[in-house]
């Protein structure tokens, strides 16, 4: 029987690289995406395109409304910061931080994994480019895995429980892009921008665009997506 893995799929380049890595390791991929009141719903369209193009086994989109709590520029009417250098990004937890987002996403992934009988969850977090989010750090992921093993039937019955795989955790954005290109990921299908225009075209100036563009530049690869202005490239 083929091994199953739940892969958190945001529609960005990190998560689509995770899909390719999981498939390369021989997993049947069960993609999980969230409609969480994010301003950039274009992400969800990207996640569907990636799920189709990469031939994953099943793709679930879960509706949750994080706007009920408020508190983030990604779900509220707070302005997304533009044109910051990496030093400014690292100096503080950004307003684009959504409270407990990865904890909520991983909890649903855990429920999905338990239901389909998967022992593996993949999440594309990244310690180098994490840009100040507390829930992207290796210590956090290790603590989540420990909690998850105590939370589930599988953990009790088999004394194994789920593994949280973070294949990108020590990679630079450039390394992630090179890996994905080698594995055949079509980055033209992905989107990273926190603040795209109505047609879904990336702004080129938010933290996510800046990190993405820098990654492509360092990898010596042309970013195949469109930007609102070519001067940002």
């Amino acid at each position: 029987m083929t091994k199953k893995a739940v892969v958190l799929l945001s529609g960005g380049l990190d998560s689509s690289t995770c899909v390719a890595i999981a498939q390369k390791k021989g997993f049947d991929v069960y993609g999980l995406s969230f409609s969480y009141g994010q301003r950039h719903t274009i992400e969800l369209e990207a996640s569907k395109r990636i799920a189709n193009a990469m031939g994953i086994t099943r793709h679930e989109i879960i509706d949750i409304d994080l706007r009920a709590f408020g508190g983030s520029a990604l779900t509220d009417d707070i302005d997304v910061p533009k044109g910051r250098d990496e030093e400014a990004m690292d100096a503080e937890i950004p307003v684009t931080y959504v409270p407990a987002r990865n904890t909520i996403f991983l909890s649903f992934a855990l429920a999905f994994a338990e239901t389909i009988g998967a022992d593996d969850i993949f999440i594309g977090v990244n310690a180098l480019d994490y840009s100040g989010y507390p829930d992207c750090r290796p210590d956090y992921i290790a603590a989540f895995q420990k909690m998850a093993r105590l939370a589930t039937k599988a953990g009790i019955e088999n004394d194994i429980g789920v593994r949280i795989n973070t294949p990108l955790i020590d990679m630079t954005k450039a390394e992630i892009i090179k890996t994905g290109v080698e594995l055949g990921v079509d980055y033209a299908l992905t989107t990273s921008c926190y603040d795209p225009d109505q047609a879904g075209i990336s702004c080129g100036q938010c933290d996510a665009c800046i990190l993405r563009l820098k990654g492509f530049k360092e990898a010596g690869i042309i970013d195949p997506i469109e930007y609102q202005n070519d001067i940002f490239r």
Copy 2:
């Protein structure tokens, strides 16, 4: 400034007792309930009645669809077991177990707590009467708290982070009921049944009804709610 606490509020007797305990400790209570495709939506009505009657500060109901994954008698068309004794309940993880439910609920509580600036979350889990659910054990709760402290801004900035309070963890159902009655909880507003009829009347025969009725009997207090047949009392 009054301290704030997020209390997970199911509409059952454990969570309403938690509200009373948190208020007694001087917290402003922010109640959090979930519409998760449970068959017993009567729970949500009970949670609203309790929130009103107990004068909590704010009550949020979050819509999430655990049915997307399936796998539990509480959200699927699997029959709820009836008439089991406690030995049978303890012998296995019940089909009413919802995969990763408490992990998902606590994750949302963490997001809510972080947004309103609360350092405390209350959950009415119970190690003695936990009836086979892996995510009601003290080890699990401790692991969740550790993970939560690593997950949040508060954990990073203040080196404190959230506390997961489980005031009922070592109490019997009878002790919980006596405590609640002393604190003035009106248990007539609560509901516990996994399989009520269309009018919301409790079945008296599912695991939850059996544990509740036994608790009231041991406490020497009459359960003020109605049952489908008085022979179950």
